[in-house]
Symmetry: D2
Subunit: 138 residues, 4 copies
């Protein structure tokens, strides 16, 4: 169901005085997975930016199941869905050796990089996402 | 309605190549406001930790309304509610000169600092929160 | 000797699993102090950027004396010196209640924001720095 | 000469409004390389911590040669030297396709994890480092 999985290792800088990964680090890992997804299926996030489009995060949500610790190797599964108009959404599942560590999603809106006004998800990007997700669903 | 407001100024390190504050920075600002809340009304987060209790973030959610930019002075309003059993929740509103920049909430669970097992929110903390919120509601 | 001092409070997100502030956080605090310095004496860093100049960090150095801990209120003293050609340098002293926590310096180079080629520190900026430092030396 | 090289990819979260990697990110990458070094040659940093020893960073220094940008694949070369008493030092070279992006070093001191008092680098660690460095020098 998830077309891509990315591995991240918990950095010491990402831990906090509770001895676990800080809650904000998960949004960074989501982003790492999202960037990998766009690299794998859509020519890269920079390719999107190079065409004058920025994708802003409009919502983010994380559910933390069990703490992640320094040096843990986490697998971040990622899929994209609900591409409509200027908007699209990514879902994430973070697991460690099959145990769910966290999950979440981010909602995005495309804007024109100069005017910062909403602009439709370009057809080539919508199609690339649809193809990737269809293959994963098979 | 919000018993406390904290000011944060967007650091250059918190911006990203889109020229705006990175989406993960908001969770850090939420935490800054939460820490200030506990300092103001409950003797400080360290006081909670010193009594052998850690409060873990179990969920976090952010809605981004408009971008925040380098050096923006943001006001983070914070309130606590739904204290029940081991759990409690903070709500946040981030604004700049009265304009909503973002809002969100975090859900928390108290655990015993040694065993990491859930433990009830201690009565002194629940009462301190209730008093602060009641005063703000007047 | 230091024309400006800025207060930062150690954020929980800035601590690591050693229970102290992470070593990279100090470079962020140096930046916060530097930005305050430019705001106080030179119309703000954004004013520099608005005139088509970016200032890159070309070197950074930190000596850590004693650990900083969560919620510590640190005072970051800052001064600027050695303005010559495209270059200038900031010195920092981080202390807590008079105890030296760390010190360090950063070296900077002005570049044209479009071409990224080195460009002289603009005279108005060099003069603003010279005035601030002369006043502090009195 | 460098016994180990680690690859990091510049995260979007690590860029700033100048469009390049933020200067503090390099200290985090140095740490990633250092952790990999200890994993490869000394059983891992966690193994060091598990034996009741913490290694604090006492100094850090970075020279930035050219900017690193979003999604750049950087190679961080790392070596350890000057192991004496409680102290040791790591050197780093960050390059992109053979071009030097930055270099630097960090100085460390071993402390007892309970008392935080300086303690000698344990012989097994000093020997592991010496072996790794000797092999690289061949």
């Amino acid at each position: 169901m998830f077309p891509l999985v990315t591995e991240v290792r918990v950095r010491f800088a990402e831990t906090d005085a509770q001895g676990v990964a800080h809650n904000a680090a998960y949004l960074v890992w989501f982003e790492v997975a999202r960037v990998d997804y766009l690299a794998e299926f859509a020519g890269g996030y920079q390719a999107v930016r190079d065409r004058g489009i920025e994708a802003f995060v409009t919502e983010a949500s994380v559910r933390y199941a069990v703490p992640a610790r320094f040096d843990d190797r986490l697998r971040v599964h990622v899929r994209c869905r609900d591409v409509r108009g200027a908007r699209f959404r990514f879902d994430y599942l973070v697991e460690r050796s099959g145990e769910r560590v966290a999950d979440g999603w981010t909602q995005h809106a495309c804007v024109d990089a100069r005017t910062f006004r909403p602009t439709r998800v370009p057809p080539w990007l919508a199609e690339a996402i649809a193809r990737a997700e269809a293959r994963a669903a098979e």
